[in-house]
């Protein structure tokens, strides 16, 4: 059943497509991390209207499917004059979507920093920005690294959705190979294994970072 020479023949093509999967993951996750933190910080300001507005948008993004958002950004935005490449549209959509999840993770981390830390810093007259940067964030993040890491792995597994907006990532490549050769077993199984290995490696990496930070 399993054809080893076919397996070896298609491997380079799959690995090439894997680059797209990986770069989309890294860029989207980076965006999610930065934006998620900003959302969590804005939600702790006293600007009520901004907080309401941001909370509303976050709630909306979190409760609608990524696929719908991908279609909207890729197919509807151009109607308003904003045409994006599949990669940019995809990374933006997934990154923003995941930032709404990560903002909740950050919130938990920030809430866990004792109020006495804020008070001590403010009595020492640190600026708001300084308090965030040197007192709160360094204490809020180490405990949440494992959860942040879980979202990285979840995001990685979300990237096949990008094929819906014509980005040929690793799973779509496997499917095309199957369509052309009428052999689906090897390419699809390989993609499964690739995701398994990647997820495992990422979880090791996250463990390392967590151990180092705490």
């Amino acid at each position: 059943m399993w054809d080893w020479s076919f397996t070896i023949a298609i491997l380079p093509e799959l690995l090439k497509a894997l680059k797209i999967t990986l770069s989309a993951t890294v860029v989207a996750y980076f965006l999610a991390c930065v934006l998620g933190l900003l959302i969590a910080m804005v939600k702790r300001t006293t600007w009520k209207l901004v907080v309401y507005a941001v909370s509303g948008v976050v709630e909306f993004i979190r409760s609608t499917p990524i696929l719908a958002q991908l279609y909207f950004v890729f197919y509807v935005f151009p109607k308003f004059g904003l045409t994006l490449t599949p990669f940019v549209a995809g990374v933006l959509t997934i990154g923003v979507h995941y930032s709404t999840y990560l903002s909740e993770v950050y919130r938990a981390g920030i809430d866990a920093v004792p109020v006495g830390q804020w008070e001590a810093a403010s009595v020492l007259n640190f600026s708001r920005a300084r308090i965030w940067l040197t007192i709160i964030i360094p204490q809020a993040i180490p405990p949440i690294v494992p959860v942040l890491g879980n979202y990285l792995i979840a995001l990685l597994k979300e990237t096949p959705l990008l094929s819906a907006i014509t980005l040929v990532e690793v799973l779509e490549t496997a499917k095309i190979i199957g369509d052309n050769s009428f052999r689906y077993l090897e390419p699809i199984t390989l993609v499964g294994l690739i995701f398994l290995v990647l997820s495992y490696l990422l979880s090791l990496l996250v463990q390392q970072i967590h151990a180092k930070l705490s």
């Binding site: 008070e119 001590a120 403010s122 009595v123 020492l124 007259n125 640190f126 708001r128 040197t134 204490q139």
Partner: protein
């Protein structure tokens, strides 16, 4: 007596005027009028929940008065004067006025992710704009002063409570405040560590020029160090020299409060 007259010279450095503070439906402070003069050591005593901490926190803007005004060195804390008009203070104004006040908490509140030296250096560098070298020098000197010059690279969790509190004192002092508020800085400590922290406070007091507001349950200490003792319970009940208050209190509530300590 000589000591007190000396201290009560000139313009007050801190002035609470008709201060009231309400939390929800609980009135915690009522009609507080209090002038503290440069160099004065004021001990604030009173039962638990009598508003002592709140009074201290008002001075560093951790709480905002419900009504009344606070002046620091002649400047209103929550208002700034622009062309003779009073406007709500902005962050810049708050920070400038607040910069003259230091506060040490009962719970130390050291930054756990920083070494002792970093704890003390951080504010001089980022708030006062000191160079790293200069800040390190001053922080080290201050830590030496509180007897912790040999612990610079330790982290707070490696220190005893008494040592942590001494770091917290050094961290506040290195900012060169004109007024220091000490809020029950020995209450969270094991009894055998109270002495080392009080010794540091006495040393600061003995230098003379620091204005100190000492919130404390250590009556012997208050009696020794303070120029003036205030007994409060939501409002100022009675104040006077340590002798007036501890030996000869006029108000029966003061007497009742102090009798608990006499028995102990």
């Amino acid at each position: 007596m000589e000591k007190q007259n000396d201290a009560v010279k000139g313009r007050p450095i801190v002035r609470y005027h008709k201060i009231a503070k309400v939390f929800g439906d609980q009135q915690v402070l009522t009609d507080i009028d209090l002038d503290i003069f440069p160099g004065e050591k004021v001990a604030l005593i009173g039962p638990s929940g009598s508003g002592k901490t709140t009074l201290g926190r008002l001075l560093v803007t951790l709480e905002r008065p419900t009504s009344g005004t606070i002046e620091v060195n002649g400047e209103l804390l929550w208002h700034k004067s622009v062309n003779g008009q009073l406007l709500p203070a902005d962050e810049k104004h708050l920070r400038r006025v607040r910069g003259q006040i230091g506060l040490v908490f009962q719970q130390f509140n050291l930054f756990p992710h920083m070494s002792i030296l970093q704890n003390v250096m951080e504010a001089p560098v980022h708030v006062l704009g000191m160079s790293k070298g200069e800040a390190k020098e001053q922080a080290t000197a201050m830590l030496n002063k509180v007897g912790l010059g040999h612990k610079l690279e330790s982290y707070p969790r490696q220190l005893s409570g008494g040592q942590q509190q001494r770091v917290a004192i050094a961290r506040a002092l290195v900012m060169r405040p004109k007024v220091m508020v000490f809020d029950e800085v020995t209450s969270a400590l094991d009894p055998e560590m109270v002495g080392e922290v009080l010794a540091v406070l006495k040393e600061i007091a003995a230098e003379g020029n620091m204005t100190m507001l000492l919130i404390t349950h250590e009556m012997a200490f208050a009696r020794e160090v303070a120029d003036r003792v205030i007994f409060m319970d939501g409002k100022i009940v009675e104040q006077g020299s340590p002798n007036d208050i501890f030996v000869n209190p006029q108000n029966p509530r003061t007497n009742a409060f102090l009798s608990r300590f006499r028995q102990a």
